[in-house]
């Protein structure tokens, strides 16, 4: 018995060692990219092997974007981060100094190789007739969105609603705040990540409308055909730009800087863009975008830079302690 236990421990230790033999990268990412990066990892490993003869294994870690950034700050050894919004990578640069603060200028398209937007997921047939942002404030409606404090997707949701309201009420600050407060009042539960919210809405069947990444909405409406949900595209939405970056200090220590950068640049190649589009992310490459045009309905979008003056400012005004989200949340 004791010998069996001992050999079990030994076997565990040995296999743990063997898994680390060739080059490995750790990609710390946000919630809904699981399937996407699994496909990217396979394709990149094959491309890298063909190009250099080296084999590379990419490990994945997923969770709410803010929480993942916090883990990297606390020492989770990510060679690359692929998060939901630029502010979370800024936080890593600011608090842990693991990469320079001009990280976003280092890769094409301001380090955002694919985009998405925020759409609505409703029950089949749209029984509550939800067609645009204004409907979300209707009393008695249940709106599902994750917690903006921990989830990147939730922050995009919040700012998309805010941006719509600014346009609709022509900058009348009081009306915008009333609208946002009315929407927040309709949220029965804040999950910590986008995937948790999707499961709440689709699996547990709670709520009338889910505010979701377009990629997440397309994925869940296809993967879960029996789920009985359909997509509603609002009149205007935000251009969500999830960024990617090499974590310099960690990659240098692992000796993986070159392969980590090649990995991120692979996302912008036609092959990488094709995989992004097949996983429901809007590609930057116009040729690829044209081929997948049928999949992505045209939607008018505004950017975070134009509407909110960039992420640092948006974060400070809306999501930091005492920001608009804290002020407008109903006291429960």
């Amino acid at each position: 018995m004791r010998r069996a236990l001992f050999s079990l421990v030994l076997a565990g230790l040995l296999t743990a060692g063997a898994a680390r033999a060739d080059t490995t990268l750790l990609n710390v990412s946000y919630d809904p990219t699981r399937e996407f990066y699994r496909a990217i990892n396979q394709a990149f490993a094959a491309a890298w092997k063909a190009k250099t003869g080296e084999s590379v294994t990419i490990n994945q870690s997923h969770g709410g974007s803010g929480k993942q950034a916090r883990s990297v700050i606390d020492g989770l050894e990510a060679d690359v981060v692929t998060l939901a919004l630029a502010y979370d990578i800024d936080a890593i640069a600011d608090h842990a100094r693991l990469l320079p603060s001009d990280w976003q200028a280092r890769l094409p398209d301001r380090s955002t190789p694919y985009t998405s937007t925020i759409v609505f997921l409703v029950r089949t047939g749209n029984p509550k007739r939800i067609t645009d942002w204004g409907d979300l404030a209707r009393p008695g409606l249940q709106v599902i969105t994750p917690n903006p404090k921990t989830s990147g997707g939730a922050r995009w949701n919040y700012l998309a609603a805010w941006g719509w309201a600014e346009r609709t009420y022509r900058g009348d600050a009081a009306k915008v705040r009333d609208y946002i407060a009315a929407v927040l009042k309709n949220v029965p539960v804040f999950d910590s990540g986008a995937r948790g919210s999707t499961n709440t809405f689709v699996q547990r069947r709670i709520g009338d409308v889910l505010l979701a990444w377009e990629n997440e909405a397309l994925l869940s409406s296809r993967e879960l055909a029996e789920a009985g949900v359909e997509i509603v595209v609002p009149s205007v939405s935000i251009l969500a730009e999830p960024p990617v970056a090499v974590v310099d200090t960690v990659a240098a220590r692992h000796g993986t800087t070159a392969v980590a950068e090649a990995y991120l640049r692979f996302l912008s190649t036609p092959e990488g863009q094709d995989i992004a589009a097949r996983n429901f992310y809007r590609p930057r490459d116009p040729a690829v975008a044209k081929r997948f045009a049928a999949q992505f309905p045209p939607v008018a979008t505004f950017t975070i830079d134009d509407a909110f003056g960039g992420w640092r400012q948006a974060q400070k005004l809306h999501f930091d302690d005492g920001g608009s989200f804290d002020q407008l949340q109903p006291k429960r």
Binding site: L13, N59, D74, N199
Partner: protein, 281 residues
């Protein structure tokens, strides 16, 4: 011959009601959820169920869980025994404080238990920069998971043994010493036989918790697929990836481990029932 006296005096309807109530409660809160887990796991037949269990990531999670338990349980066995021995058999200053401290992991939330280690070993924590400079990984790696598990399972053995050893007093040990036995011999021949049942319960419970802990381990794990995910964390990952058969297959494996633990306990009790009856536990 005196007439046979009925052991209970409650009317029959009351006994039946009470039994049904207990059974109904157990069915609702234990049997049905377990059945639901198994049902979901086998929703698409036995083959997908088995296939979900032998994927490399699941196997890695099982290996990590067994490794963690194999380190945490023996350590807490030794610690629990030593602490219970000291507390039950001796009087010393700050004894009350020690008893309270042992209970601490039970009373704090597992999230806090995990954050303690982030504060100590995290890159922004007390020891983090030094550790990073020497290339030592504690949190977001296997050592952190083992540490967090040891922390949350720390009270099980000690808590089981302290009341038992206190109730038994120290007369038998004193007799052994007077008759010329050394400390080690006294422990092996007198103390250990007296407490072996309590010790066994403690170890089994400790093991069940070590394998099943979610909260504290989740905080320090980093959630790297196939590397730092234990079985409970892997269940969450599979569930979040819409792999419901996989999630519930692995969940039923976890439930099975708990059932095996309980079955082992019941079996041992049954085998040694005479001895147990002689001791008052």
């Amino acid at each position: 011959m005196p007439p046979h006296r009925r052991p209970v005096t409650e009317p029959r309807w009351m006994r039946v009601t009470l039994c049904l109530l207990a059974l109904g409660f157990l069915t609702l809160f234990l049997a049905l959820p377990l059945a639901a887990v198994l049902g979901q796991a086998l929703a698409r037949g036995v083959e997908p169920f088995a296939a979900a269990l032998v994927t490399p990531d699941t196997m890695a999670a099982i290996r990590l869980t067994l490794l963690t338990a194999a380190i945490a349980v023996p350590l807490n066995l030794v610690f629990g025994l030593a602490a219970a021995w000291a507390i039950a058999k001796f009087r010393f200053p700050l004894r009350g404080l020690l008893v309270t401290l042992i209970d601490l992991p039970f009373s704090v939330s597992p999230v806090v238990s995990g954050l303690i280690y982030v504060l100590m070993f995290g890159l922004q924590g007390w020891l983090g920069p030094t550790l990073a400079a020497h290339g030592i990984k504690i949190i977001f790696a296997v050592p952190g998971i083992v540490l967090a598990t040891i922390f949350v399972t720390l009270p099980f053995v000690a808590r089981e043994l302290i009341p038992l050893m206190e109730a038994q007093g120290r007369e038998e040990e004193e007799a052994a010493i007077v008759l010329g036995a050394g400390g080690w011999r006294t422990f092996l021949l007198v103390t250990l036989p007296n407490i072996k049942w309590g010790l066994l319960y403690g170890v089994l419970l400790c093991n069940a918790r070590a394998m099943g802990e979610f909260g504290a381990v989740s905080v320090v794990s980093g959630h790297i697929r196939g590397m730092t995910t234990t079985i409970p964390l892997h269940v969450e990952i599979l569930y979040n990836e819409y792999d419901f058969v996989g999630a519930f297959a692995v969940a039923s494996l976890l439930a099975l481990l708990a059932l095996v633990t309980l079955a082992a306990k019941t079996f041992l009790e049954w085998v040694h029932r005479d001895e147990l009856a002689a001791h008052t536990r």
